[in-house]
């Protein structure tokens, strides 16, 4: 076989292995057998036809270049990889110094008595009141923002003189971001002539005009278990009654007995080993979630999901395409011996403050712990990890920040300039919204409508567009403020916002 052909065969074999055991695999196999019976399939050209289809359809990304090393797949730009490495080192140092100061090990096996106790109160960990005053979060979003602001491409020169090309925002790396015409093409289903949930299901609009038909189509999509159709459908929003099933269909989550067993195994791991990061999770949830109007009822779920998440080694797989790398440690007394090297925490992810905000909205949809867990994990390895790593990916946090700033500077230049002049760089306000995917800021029903679109478009760019749309909406008030604190106050409360009208107006109804 020619080199190229054997590469493709190997990739096909790898894809087959990854799909193996999933519901999707069984469906594909059935479909393939059924298709082979059809007269229009020509067996002699089948292999070439499939390869041609892969190239034309753009459904599958072209296989990466054979000479590209693994780190290139994580992140192609060397200076971004280096920045991510330095950021990770800072986090490791912070955690290590906390260990040393508090004289607490990173991990230890729980004594049997403690294990029994934890098992008994597994469903009500919120009732515990341990002393967590000495623990502090490893890092906060604003530390991360400072790192992003200081990112520089060593091969890029801005020039000294200001021109219309000068970027006035905080992000100074030249990543490609979309402008409004490109966004309109990309988010075409959000246009003025297409029905939307979040707009066309409001009480003044008769349901016969859009809502009833949309619900009927949704039920059909679910009946046929068509994942691709579900993804297309959800671009117009999901009816509340169908959302849990639709998201599960799109994320390819079906609760098989082995998934429930897997979750139980993770729970056992939590019971057996105590991790330092558990206390950080505990403190974070206790301080913030338990006081949140929307999320306090889910406090116990949040502990369960996040503690299990930290033990889940299957999450390590996503580091193949995440620019981040999992922290390493050695079993006590075996420093430097590779056979005693382990990852810490087992899933390789040290959580930032308020990380639980990515879990909490899901608690409205899923009440069975193992299903809630699976959905959250899939959302993380598909989308949310990009909000916490430095990369050049279009859905990565750096691109989102740059997209937000560019939209504002291009389409609201007066507002942007004014805010900059008063020392209120817009990104300093909107960063916390985007890095949390707006969780904790929007009303729950609005947040779920927004996350519908994240799933539908398989991209986080909508977060940056919404952030710009919010600034556009409050532009009149913002033009009158004279300090950063006043600007923050204007944008402090987003709980009354309706996201779909904001997005639609910003993209499709603003004169550009």
């Amino acid at each position: 076989m020619l080199q190229e052909e054997s590469d493709i065969s190997l990739i096909i074999a790898q894809i087959v292995q990854k799909l193996k055991g999933s519901n999707l695999y069984a469906q594909l196999e059935r479909q393939a057998w059924a298709s082979l019976q059809r007269p229009e399939i020509k067996l002699e050209s089948l292999k070439e036809d499939i390869k041609e289809f892969f190239k034309i359809s753009g459904l599958f990304p072209l296989p990466s270049h054979p000479a590209a090393p693994p780190e290139h797949l994580k992140e192609p730009l060397v200076y971004m990889r280096k920045a991510q490495g330095s950021w990770e080192k800072r986090i490791l140092k912070s955690l290590n110094s906390m260990c040393t100061e508090l004289s607490i090990p990173l991990a230890r096996k729980r004594p049997v008595g403690e294990q029994k106790e934890l098992l008994n109160k597994w469903n009500e960990m919120g009732t515990d009141e341990p002393d967590l005053s000495l623990f502090r979060p490893v890092y906060a979003p604003k530390d991360f923002l400072e790192v992003l602001i200081n990112l520089r491409n060593p091969n890029y020169e801005n020039g000294d003189s200001l021109s219309f090309r000068t970027h006035l925002g905080l992000i100074q790396v030249p990543l490609k971001v979309k402008d409004i015409p490109e966004l309109k093409e990309c988010f075409v289903e959000l246009g003025l002539n297409t029905g939307q949930l979040g707009i066309d299901d409001s009480t003044q609009v008769p349901p016969e005009l859009f809502e009833n038909e949309h619900v009927r189509i949704g039920q059909k999509v679910l009946a046929e278990q068509d994942s691709a159709a579900a993804q297309q459908y959800i671009r117009q929003g999901s009816p509340t009654a169908l959302r849990a099933e639709l998201w599960a269909l799109i994320l390819n989550i079906s609760s098989q007995p082995e998934d429930i067993l897997y979750y139980e195994q993770l729970k056992t791991n939590v019971i057996q080993h105590d991790l330092l990061v558990d206390s950080l999770i505990y403190k974070d949830v206790k301080l913030t979630a338990s006081n949140d109007d929307y999320y306090f009822v889910f406090e116990d779920y949040l502990y369960q999901v996040l503690l299990c998440f930290s033990r889940d080694t299957s999450v390590l797989n996503h580091f193949a395409y995440n620019s981040a790398s999992p922290p390493k440690s050695y079993i006590r007394g075996k420093l430097g011996l590779e056979e005693y090297a382990v990852f810490y925490p087992p899933n390789g992810k040290i959580l930032s403050i308020n990380f639980f905000l990515s879990v909490a909205p899901l608690c409205f949809l899923y009440h069975e712990p193992s299903k809630l867990y699976q959905i959250f994990r899939e959302m993380y390895v598909r989308f949310f990890f990009r909000l916490h790593s430095i990369s050049s990916h279009p859905s990565g946090i750096v691109s989102l920040c740059l997209l937000f700033e560019t939209l504002l500077q291009t389409y609201l230049p007066q507002l942007f300039y004014h805010l900059r002049e008063i020392g209120a760089q817009p990104l300093r306000i909107s960063f916390k919204w985007m890095v949390r995917a707006f969780s904790g800021y929007l009303a729950t029903d609005q947040l779920l409508l927004l996350w519908d679109r994240i799933l539908g478009y398989n991209s986080l760019e909508i977060l940056a567009v919404l952030a710009a749309a919010v600034f556009a909406f409050r532009a009149v008030n913002l033009m009158e403020v004279t300090s950063l604190a006043a600007a923050e106050a204007v944008l402090a409360d987003l709980s009354t916002l309706k996201v779909m009208p904001l997005l639609q107006i910003f993209l499709f109804a603003t004169v550009t």
Binding site: S9, A13, E44, A67, L261, P327, K328, S329, A341
Partner: protein, 175 residues
């Protein structure tokens, strides 16, 4: 058909600039890289692979010796092949690139083409329908590879993070 890499000598870049290099201030946008092949045995070049570093467009010229009697001449194989769709942004800036040879039966020496795109037409079959037993054996080969992967020991779904039940850790490692 096995492929081997050809030893080559890549010379340093030379800037193409009009005027005196020392006195003019502009930075040249065109650089030339000379590649020579020290081995004297003739070979058929199939693929050129390189890693880009902020080059937007690439042209390749080849000096070919066709026979003993005609002097060697320079042939442009590739002109302004785009490596970076938007030269002012990072797209394609540090990508790995391969350029393949495209066989055209009507030409006497091979022509270069850029990385094949989806609009390329497949080479038309000249001999009629393919031999069914050859096709069948190719499909079987692919299937056998898939079965091999399937039968091989699958990575444990429930991964262990400890070493022999022990997960006592003191500090994180920086390496």
């Amino acid at each position: 058909m096995s492929r081997v890499s050809v030893p080559c000598h890549v010379k340093g870049t030379v800037a193409l600039q009009v005027g005196d290099v020392r006195t003019s201030h502009g930075r040249p946008g065109v650089l030339v890289i000379d590649v020579t092949f020290p081995s004297v045995a003739p070979f058929e070049l199939q693929e050129i692979t390189f890693k880009n570093y902020y080059t937007a467009f690439l042209s390749i010229r080849v000096r070919q010796h066709t026979s003993m009697h005609t002097p060697a001449k320079w042939v442009t194989c590739l002109r302004d092949y785009c490596l970076m769709p938007d030269p002012h942004s990072e797209e394609g800036a540090q990508e790995y690139v391969s350029l393949f040879k495209h066989q055209s039966p009507s030409m006497t020496f091979p022509k270069w083409l850029s990385h094949p795109g989806p609009c390329e037409q497949p080479v038309p079959l000249l001999e009629g329908l393919p031999d069914p037993s050859r096709v069948s054996s190719e499909v079987q080969q692919m299937w056998a590879l898939t079965e091999m992967i399937r039968a091989s020991h699958t990575s444990a779904r429930i991964g262990r993070f400890d070493v022999d039940g022990c997960y006592d850790l003191n500090l994180l490692s920086y390496t």
